[in-house]
Amino acid sequence: MSYLPKSPWLVHYDASSCNGCDIEVLACLTPLYDVERFGVLNIGNPKHADIFVVTGSVNEQNKSVIQNIYNQMAEPKVVVAIGACATSGGIFRECYNVQGGVDKVIPVDVYVPGCAARPEAIIDGVVQALGVLEEKYKNMGKVAK
C-alpha cells in the first residue's frame, strides 16, 4: 500500500456498544496513541468523513441511524466495524434486541476483533481501511490528489 496524500477523517457512531470500545476509539486519538499526528481526525459531520467507525451491534432503533450516517458520507468511503459486538453481536448476540453485526445493514470493509478491541488493533484496522480507501479511489477512475 502506498500512502494517500490526503489525511483520512473519521466519523464514529456508537450503535449499541457497551462503551468499552468507544472509549478505546477515543483513546486512539489522545496522547498515548495519538493518531492525530498522522492527520487522522475524529469529526462529527459525516459529510466530511472518509472512514466510518462503528462500535456495537445493530438493533431496530439504531438501524436507520447507521444507514443515515452511511448515506450522508461522500464516495469513496470505508466502514470499519470495531469490537466483537460490531462484527457479530459479540457477547450480546443472543439478546432479544440484538440483530447481529453492523454488516446486517451496511457493507463493512474491515473487521477489528476484540472485546474490548485494543487501541493497537483499532489503529491497525484504520490503517487497513486506508488501503481499501485507496483501492476504491482507483476503481472510481480517479487519482488520489
Binding site: 456508537d14 476509539v25 477515543l26 498515548l32 450480546f92 434486541n97
Partner: protein, 359 residues
C-alpha cells in the same frame, strides 16, 4: 414570545460519543423544553440470565458499561454472594475496593476531559486523557485488560496483587495526583472556564431530592449521600466523608468530581496500608436460592442490583438500576432556560452513560 423551533440533538453528536437523543424545544436561542428518547443502545442483557449460568453472567453484567465495568461486576457478585450468604476473605474485599477506586479515578479523569472538550478546550481534554492512561496501565498490569477486566468472581477475585506491586501503584498514583493538580486547577481557577460553568444549569437542593438525582449530580446540590458509607467491601474500614458542594451549578458538579478524584487516590493509599494477607477467594458450592438487593456507589452515582434465584444454576431475574437513568430527570430540570450552546455542557454534567441506562 418568539416562535418555537424543535431541534434534534443526537443520537450522533460530536460532543457525546454515545447516542443520547433529545428533542429541544427552542424559543429563539433559549431552551424551553426537552423531550428525551432512549432505546438506541438497548440490548436486553438482563434476559441473558436464562441462557448463561450465574458464574458466566458476571462477564455479561460487566459489559453493561465499559467505563464503570469493574463496579458492575462487583455489584453482581455481591448480589450473588448475598443470596448465598457468603462471606468473602478480607484481602479480596480490599482488592475489590482498590480496583473500584481506580475505576473512579479513571472515570472522573475521562469525564473531566470530555467536559473540557464540550467547551472547546481541546488541549485540556488531551492532557486529562494522557494522565488517565497511567491508571489504565495499572489496570492492564494487574488485571490484563484496559477497560474490561473480568477479575471479580463469585466468592472473591481471580487475581491477587502482590504487595510490591501495590506499593508501586501508590507511587504511580502520586504522579497521577501531581499531574492532575495542574489540570484541575484550570477547571477550578480559569476565568474563561468559570464563565462557562458558574451559574449554568442550577439544580436546587429540593429539586435534586425531588427528581431523585444520584451521585455527583446530587452531591453538587448540597445533599451528602454517598453509598460507600454503607461500608460494603472494605469501605467500612476506611476513613472518608462524602464530598458536597452547595451551588448546584455546572461548576459545583465539576468541583465535586475533582475532589472525588483526590479522595479516591487517598482511599487507595489507605487500602494499601491496611490490606491484610490471606486468601483471595472462598469455594462456592451448589446453586443460589433466594433473592437479594445490593447498592453500590458508581462514579456516576447509586446503582442498584436485584437478583432472584430458584436453586438452579440459572438466575430467575436480574435487574440493574443505573445512575444515569436517575439523573436524566435532573437533566430535564436543568435544561429549560438554558442557551442552546450550553446544552452539550449540561448533558455532560450529569456524566451520562447511555449504555448503562438502556442496557
Amino acid at each position: 414570545m418568539g416562535e418555537r423551533t424543535i431541534i434534534p440533538f443526537g443520537p450522533q453528536h460530536p460532543v457525546l460519543p454515545e447516542p443520547l437523543h433529545l428533542d429541544l424545544i427552542l424559543e429563539d436561542e433559549k431552551v424551553v423544553g426537552a423531550v428525551p428518547s432512549i432505546g438506541f443502545v438497548h440490548r436486553g442483557l438482563e434476559k441473558l440470565v436464562e441462557k448463561r449460568d450465574f458464574h458466566e453472567m458476571m462477564y455479561v453484567i460487566e459489559r453493561v458499561c465499559g467505563i464503570c465495568s469493574f463496579i458492575h461486576g462487583q455489584g453482581y457478585v455481591q448480589t450473588i454472594e448475598g443470596i448465598f450468604g457468603l462471606e468473602i476473605p478480607d484481602r479480596a474485599k480490599f482488592l475489590r475496593t482498590i480496583w473500584a477506586e481506580l475505576s473512579r479515578v479513571h472515570s472522573h479523569l475521562l469525564w473531566l476531559g470530555l467536559m473540557a472538550d464540550a467547551y472547546g478546550f481541546e488541549s485540556l481534554f488531551m492532557h486529562c486523557w494522557r494522565v488517565r492512561e497511567k491508571v489504565l496501565d495499572i489496570f492492564e498490569e494487574t488485571t490484563g485488560g484496559r477497560v474490561i477486566f473480568s477479575v471479580c468472581k463469585v466468592g472473591g477475585v481471580w487475581k491477587d496483587i502482590d504487595n510490591e506491586t501495590l506499593k508501586r501503584i501508590v507511587e504511580v498514583l502520586n504522579v497521577v495526583e501531581q499531574e492532575s493538580k495542574a489540570l484541575t486547577d484550570v477547571f477550578i481557577k480559569d476565568f474563561t472556564v468559570q464563565k462557562r460553568t458558574r451559574g449554568v444549569g442550577v439544580l436546587s437542593y429540593q429539586d435534586a431530592i425531588d427528581v431523585g438525582a444520584v451521585g455527583p449530580t446530587l452531591r453538587g446540590s448540597g445533599v451528602a449521600m454517598d453509598l460507600r458509607k454503607l461500608g460494603y467491601a472494605a469501605y467500612g474500614e476506611l476513613n472518608f466523608e462524602p464530598i458536597v458542594e452547595k451551588d448546584g451549578d455546572c461548576y459545583a458538579r465539576t468541583i465535586v468530581r475533582v475532589r472525588e478524584l483526590y479522595q479516591s487516590i487517598d482511599l487507595i493509599r489507605q487500602c494499601v496500608s491496611k490490606i491484610p494477607d490471606g486468601e483471595i477467594e472462598v469455594k462456592v458450592k451448589g446453586n443460589p436460592k433466594g433473592e437479594y438487593v445490593s447498592r453500590l456507589e458508581q462514579p456516576r452515582g447509586q446503582v442498584v442490583y436485584y437478583g432472584r434465584a430458584n436453586g438452579t444454576k440459572y438466575l430467575e431475574r436480574f435487574r440493574v438500576r443505573t445512575p444515569t437513568f436517575a439523573n436524566i430527570p435532573a437533566l430535564l430540570k436543568m435544561l429549560p432556560g438554558a442557551d442552546l450552546a450550553d446544552v452539550p455542557l449540561l448533558a455532560l454534567t450529569i456524566d451520562p452513560c447511555i449504555s448503562c441506562t438502556e442496557r
